[in-house]
Amino acid sequence: MYWFSHKNKPQQKQSRLIEFDTTPIADLSFNLLIFFIVTASFIIRQGVFLSLPSLSAGTVKVEPSQVIEIYPQDNGFIADGKALDRKALLQYLAVRKSQTKEAVSIIYMKPNIKYERLVDTLSAIRESGLSRISLKYNER
């Protein structure tokens, strides 16, 4: 039976194992890998995030008791009518946060104040766990 079914078929050639030399690919890949490791920069840029209000955004009503006004100065801050250093500002913000639900911090910037004072104020507000921030710019 077997002979009958296979008698007209050509004899199959023994399959040859074709090998592909992968050594050059490995070499190339490792070379590229080393190049990328050496040249890549692992510096993670860091910063302070701020969401700006849209010009078309409506106004938000807040109670006066919710508002924390901060006036950054070149050598500290003015808040609640008092000159404060960073540590005192953090304490003041912590107290206000515990007293007021959903407090809104308003930063009043003047043109001649250094930019680092804005970043420091934003940082201090974030450190005290307050999230609602408004940035006011007084050009005069």
Partner: protein, 134 residues
Amino acid sequence: MVQSPFLKKLRSFSLGASAADMAMLLLVFFMATTSTEPPKGVTVELPTAVTQGAEQDSIYISISKEGAIYFDGKDSSIDDIKDQLAIRQNEKDRIVSITADKDLPYSVVANVINILRQYDFLNVVFISQPREEQ
């Protein structure tokens, strides 16, 4: 030397294919995860703050101590920035990284912030160096 029946059964094999696979995988991993150096434009002294990691895929605005503005690494005037932002209206959700010198008067930064608001680029990160915990 007479080989044992067990050793006779063992065949020599090449590590080439697996090494290539491994190298390719590592290569793809590094290419996918490493960040490219953002366009610098100008070297500035950064302010310090308690920071969060900023996204790498940002629009970069650098402002030097003298007030020169660089948009994605290119020296740009205010009008150039307006043009660029107008062209990139489909990228409004991208974060704008502002890298400004710490001693820069705020008026310059305020000007840039105003332009960003005009063109609806509302997600801003002020690039700073991490503050050391005291």
